[in-house]
Every structure is written in C-alpha cells, then in structure tokens.
Amino acid sequence: MPRTQSPATNAAKPAEPRANLVTVPADRPSAPARWRRFLAVAAVLALIWAALTGFRADALAFGVPAVLAGAALVFAMPPSPGWRLSPRGLLAFVLWFAVQSVKGAVDVALRAAAPRMRLRPGFRTYPLALPQGAPQVMFLNTITLLPGTLSAEIAGDQVIVHMLDTSADLKADLGALEARIKALFALN
C-alpha cells in the first residue's frame, strides 16, 4: 500500500511502478502490540471461517489451525503503524459512505445515459496529509467512490486524481473526506 518515496519525485513524471508499495516502518510496535494484533486478526478470521462453513462444529478441525496459521502471519509481516477506529466515527463514516456511493453511481450512470455526455475529464493533484498506513489507504480507496473522482496515481506526497468534470470543487470534496477519515480513525 502507499508508502514514502523520495520527495524529489515530480508530480508530472510518473512514479516508479512499485516504489509506492515499499513499506518503511517508522517505529516497530512492541511485543504486546503484536499479540493484540494477532488476537484481532484471529477474531476476524474466525468470523470469516464461521460464515464460510455455516457455523458447523465439525469444520473446526480445519478451521482452528487455519485461523491460527493465518493470524500468525502478523509476526512474519513487516511491522506497520497501528490504528484504531472510533465507534462514532465509524457509524458516521458508514452512513456517509453509503450516501456518497449512491451519489457517485447515480452521477456516473446519468452521464453514461445522457445523449450528450457532460464530461470535462482531466487530472488534478491533491496533497496527501493523512498518516500512512490504514488512514491513507482508506482515503485513496474512498476517493474512487466519491462522485466524479478516481485516485489514479501516487506521486511522492501527492495523489493524482482523475476527474470526470474538472470544474467540480476537488479541494472541498477531498477535504471533507479527510475530515471524516480523521474522525473514523480517532486522529487528533
């Protein structure tokens, strides 16, 4: 997922294809933090296993080893900065996300169906201000669901956004998204 690269990278020039995927851990999480993450991952995997097998008890013979092995990958993966969700921010984000994805889909569907498509496509850049890791990944993925915007590329500390209509107010839309992601991850 998006990581640091040399700040000298020019926004006009494409970044190295994989440079933005290199993980550069800022500080290693402590051992208890890793065990907490192990338990969290195990809980999520157990829920997925339960859903896939329809809560069958006899499937646990495979499920328990599979869940433990999957969660143990936490110790094999490079450490990444931890994050936590705010319950209130999560609820607000989910509702807003649902409304925005409907708006985005209706907008693009109307454009696709209109006899004269109202398109003024182009690229704009926006500075990445959120902390790296989960908040930034969430930001980049949600841009694509907002009406008229698509996260096209990461160049240094900027995201290059493709817009269906470049006359829309990108700064206001993405600023609002940033504020919601800050609330979601209980930042500041």
């Binding site: 339960a50 329809g54 980049l140 698509l150 590329e153």
Partner: protein
C-alpha cells in the same frame, strides 16, 4: 412483501450494472471508463447483495454475502487505482496525451 422489496433492490442493482456497461462503451478514454466500472457496478453489486441477503435463510449466508461485497468493493477500488496508474505510466512513456 419482503420478496417484493428484495426483487426491487435486485432490479435497481441490475440497472446500475447496465449503466456501468453503458459508460464502459460510451466514455471516451480508459480513465472515464474506470469511473463507470468502479462506481456504477459497485453500487449495482451492493444493491443485488442487499436484495439477496434479505432472502437469505441463515446468518451465515448473510455474512457470506457481506464478505463477497466487501472483497469485491476493495478489489474494485484497488484495481481501478492500479489500472489508472499503469495507464498513466505507459501513456507517458510513448509521449501520449496527458491532461
């Protein structure tokens, strides 16, 4: 009644899939087409998943449908970004149009 509501959701979902395909065919370049596929088809799947979940018999089925929606939504946003980034890079290598 519930079945009718579920059928309406699935019907609306299909409409968004058709709109996404229309965008794929009509939009002028790869970036605009990605908008159509990531947004319209994404909502289409969400509506169909919601409609099918209403008809599901067990909670495990509902969870499975939710998992399908979640992973498709994640894969769609991520692959949309990767395709756009790749298109930008290859376009600029051959000195193609930018902006």
């Amino acid at each position: 009644m519930l079945g009718l509501f579920a059928a309406a959701l699935i019907g609306f979902g299909t409409v968004f899939f058709i709109a996404g395909t229309l965008g794929l065919l009509r939009f002028p370049d790869i970036f605009c087409r990605l908008h159509a596929l990531t947004k319209a088809d994404g909502l289409g799947l969400a509506l169909i998943a919601l409609g099918v979940a209403l008809m599901a018999g067990t909670w495990a089925e509902v969870l499975r449908i939710a998992l399908i929606w979640f992973f498709v939504a994640l894969a769609s946003a991520t692959s949309g970004h990767l395709i756009a980034a790749h298109a930008r890079q290859t376009m600029q290598e051959v000195g193609g149009a930018d902006d």
